[in-house]
Amino acid sequence: MTSTDEELVARSMGGDHDSFNQLILRWERPIYALAYRTIGREEDARDVCQETFLRAYRALPKFRREAKFSSWIYRIALNLCRDWARRERRTPVVQLPEDMDLIEMAAAVGPSESIEDLVARKDLTARVELAMARLPDEQRTAIVLKEYHGLTFQEIADLQGCPLSTVKTRLYQGLSVLRREFARSPGRVA
């Protein structure tokens, strides 16, 4: 029988490293995905993922048992993402897919197309990434937490430290911007 997060946390607090490793195993992919979609760089996302679990491990004694482990770990990860943004003083980066041959593509591009158009035409993922990267942090984070992590509006509100209605507004505004971005992209996404 698989243990719940809370059971694993309790055992980890008792000094059982294996239990904490199980928590890592369970949550490292979501945390990495969250970090990647928030900051847009693989290497830095991996750093954030590692650091998230290190910090969580060190802070275990301070963990309130009535709290939800996932919320706690998301909070740590989001704080680290915010630190990253402050440190790097920049918005998420869009990495070009590795299989994209820019020279070959440049030959095919029309004179009025920008490199962003080029990328957008080539790769759907890159288009979504570009559009997401342009959103304000709060809107992007709200969308990522809702869309890819299935958090409730209330959970997002708790994480973002804002009223429930603000979360919904952020999502509505963010999605509306994406709708316009996708509509004007060559080879529409949506």
Binding site: H17, F20, N21, I24, L25, E28, R29, Y32, A33, Y36, R37, E42, E43, D44, A45, R46, D47, V48, C49, Q50, E51, F53, L54, Y57, R58, L80, D83, W84, R87, E88, Q95, L124, T125, R127, V128, E129, M132, I143, K146, E147, Y148, T152, F153, S165, K168, T169, L171, Y172, L175, S176, L178, R179, F182, V189, A190
Partner: protein, 265 residues
Amino acid sequence: MNDTRCTFDGPRDEVLVAYLYDDIGPREREAFEAHLPDCLICRTELDALSDVRGGLAAWAPPDVLDGIGGTAPSSALRIVNPESPRVSTGFRTFAEAPVWLQAAAAMLVVAASLGLANLNLTYSPSAGLSVSTGWMLPAPAVTPAPAPVVTAAAPTPDPWQADLTVLEQKVMAGVKAQLAATEASDGDAALLARVRNIVQESERRQQRELALRVAEVARESQVQRQADLVKIDRNLGLIQRSTGVEVMRTQQQLNTLAQRVSQQR
């Protein structure tokens, strides 16, 4: 029916997004569902935003390990607690061991095999020391350097920290040297496999180095103890000899006294 203006009574945008994500209370849902058939604007927007969600579904983060190495990141980040430094130290109780050794025995090694640039070794649950190559280094005056940096969180360096620092530098130097040697590799999978080996090798070497240092300290302590015993032996001998001399002298004095007494009689 009004095709140019939405007449929904309430925070329409919030309700629409709540409906879109099916994260909505029953009363709001009912009200919105009653409104939808009459409002082309809401229906159109709901469709459009559903399409946006469909587009978002295409955005998957690159799963480097699945893509290159073929294994899940389960080997990436683990907390291990090596027991080896405790054995064969020659110390009768753990409390007798030097502080740095206790720290080493209790240390946590968090090893990352995820990538080259963010190898991260951390030695102490209490945030004593960490090695990182990522951007999360404690901010120095300069911008994050690509080279590994060793940082000590404790304000006053303990002797064992110096030992660990030396170890870390050795390990990192070894890893870097080997990484440099594998730079012109023939494929990502091969490279990742090599990186994994290097990281594992560096861990083994690190533990071996620790074991060596432990043995060294134990030997030093043993030598010191033997030297102390010899010294004590010698001192005891001296005491015994001097005691013997004293006894002899006392006996001689007694004898002399006895002779004098007998002569006086």
